[in-house]
């Protein structure tokens, strides 16, 4: 009984918080304050923390990207890191071998990733469920194998060295000057913005309709394939954008930089946080992305033990992801913040308040 009351209270708090954020007067300053705080963060944290924050940022963008396909269209993609890899390799090759400037290379790479998104959408047009998941996985291995074996273009197993730093107006990004941090922060905000703008529109509604009931969607006059393609292209471009920053951030990439584990991690992020929600992606990446580091930290507490007794954090990470997935699927399949909102639907501006309350 008491427990129930407690739960009700927290629900009320979250509802009130949500309502607060819907009031322009409160939301705008709160949002600005949050941005200012996020901007100040690298000034007060160590490079180690900043590095982790940047990684969270990369995974957040990847999460928003996959969310279009898995969250809104409802198709599980097991190969999402392929777009990340294509973006990274494309920008690296364009800025090194082709000697192109960074931003033109980014634009080209993002477009290329969109094209691959289109390809994947067409390749998976008539399949669904498990077959689709397997096809997306095949897509990942196909891309990685091409990267590994097309020596003339991608330098094969050697990889690409000396990728020039990303820069803006000749001002090169480093960890020290926070360039990468601010850039990925901007990308995260950009992802949030386009998700919000699109998902609130007919495009988002149509995607969700396709997810909920493809036949009913068709009967409402929706061309299901159009919206699948839009979602895949957007997802490809967004993941590619993350890749174009990740390559110069690493400075060196090869075919082993992008792994199947990465694909899984992106999926775990949105499933943990809540498919088809924005707050789910944010919370999911905040929890999942730093997990490897947390584990490393925990294991290093036992440093005094002989090394052969210590588990390899890189390997154990995935045991934990697996556990998280199982627990989530059993207890909260909609994700931590997924499922139904307790807030009212947001009517468009200009609608009479009274009408909105029906």
């Amino acid at each position: 009984m008491k427990n129930r009351k407690e739960k009700n209270r927290t629900e009320n708090v979250s509802v009130r918080l949500g309502m607060l954020f819907r009031k322009k007067k409160a939301a705008v300053p709160a949002f600005l304050l949050l941005i200012v705080l996020l901007c100040l963060l690298p000034q007060v944290t160590s490079l180690y923390i900043q590095r982790n924050l940047i990684m969270v940022g990369f995974y957040m963008v990847l999460g928003f990207s996959l969310n279009f396909v898995t969250g809104y269209i409802g198709e599980v993609s097991l190969g999402h890191a392929a777009f990340y890899a294509i973006g990274a390799f494309s920008v690296s090759l364009l800025t090194t071998d082709a000697g192109m400037g960074y931003w033109p290379a980014v634009v080209l790479s993002v477009l290329l990733c969109g094209l691959f998104g289109l390809l994947l959408a067409f390749a998976t047009m008539r399949v669904s469920g498990t077959y689709l998941a397997i096809l997306t996985l095949a897509f990942f291995y196909l891309v990685m194998n091409i990267i590994q074996n097309w020596e003339g273009l991608t330098h094969g197993v050697v990889g690409i060295y000396d990728i020039p730093a990303a820069n803006i107006f000749g001002f090169a990004f480093t960890m020290k000057n926070g360039g990468y941090y601010y850039c990925i922060l901007a990308y995260v905000l950009f992802s949030i913005l386009i998700t919000r703008l699109l998902i609130g529109s007919r495009f988002g509604r149509a995607m969700k309709a396709v997810r909920e009931d493809p036949l009913a969607a068709t009967m409402a006059g929706i061309n299901n394939q159009t919206f699948r393609v839009i979602a895949y292209v957007l997802a490809g471009m967004l993941a590619g954008l993350a890749g174009t920053l990740y390559a110069p951030f690493c400075g060196y990439i090869n075919y082993l930089t992008f792994t199947y584990n990465m694909c899984l991690m992106i999926l775990v992020i949105i499933i943990t946080g809540g498919r088809g929600t924005m707050k789910g992606v944010i919370v999911g990446s905040l929890i999942i992305a730093p997990l490897g580091e947390v584990l490393r930290g925990l294991i290093s507490l036992f440093d005094s033990l002989p090394a052969e007794y210590l588990p390899d954090p890189e390997q154990w990470r995935f045991v934990i992801y697996g556990l998280i997935m199982v627990v989530m699927m059993r207890l909260r399949p909609q994700g931590i913040l997924g499922g139904k909102s307790r807030l009212d639907y947001r009517m468009p501006a200009g609608l009479d308040k009274k009408e909105g309350n029906g």
Binding site: K208, A209, G221, Y345, G358
Partner: protein, 260 residues
Amino acid sequence: MALLEMKQVLMRFGGLVAVDGLSLKVEEGEIVSLIGPNGAGKTTVFNTITGVYEITEGEICFGGERISGLLPREIVKRGVSRTFQNIRLFGKLRVIENALIGAHINMDYSIPDALFRTKKYRTQELTLHKKALEVLASIGLGEYVHEYAENLPYGLQRRLEIARAIMSGAKILLLDEPAAGMNPQESEDLMGFIRSLRDKGYTILLIEHDMNVVMNVSDRIYVVDYGKLIAKGKPEQIKNDPGVIRAYLGDVSEIMGEGA
């Protein structure tokens, strides 16, 4: 010219002929019912009209133009919309979102319009939100606009199906057993609502098992059994048609004389 016309339509599933040479006409502004025992092929008729199945033989025309052979989404755009017997709402979406998705074909703004919240975007969204609220209120869902569709009780889900179909702006609505699962009061309300739709200019083709609804609301009735037309006419004629009674009750000669 009839608004909707089926000419000698035959629908075969392997060895089973679900619709067998059916011809049917619906004039503009009419309420026409399609009745028949379970498994008679009524829902299949809706599926052929709306393009879910490609018909084996025959032709279906809407507004004088052939629609058989078109894709379902093209048929909706021509002005034919439907509800489903086994409710197919977008359960995890809100009532108003369901209604807005029904209006999908009435929006044509582009991705850039949505991203930059252009005037075109704002006007279309505002207009259709207004229309959705209006339609939902008129069908008695006014206080549920924010609710999630799957949380609605069964009867209200049926109404939402109708609301979603109306939102397409279709000329003709195909309603597949809208009164199923409703109590007598609810079906009474539904009848009133269906009549009010006709008064607003909609044409209605109705499948319904509730004879009270059918007899009261229909201008004309088509009766099918085993995919074949066995009777057509005004409610009074159908009520007393021996063939119809036989189809519904089996060959029970004693009650044949008693009428319905």
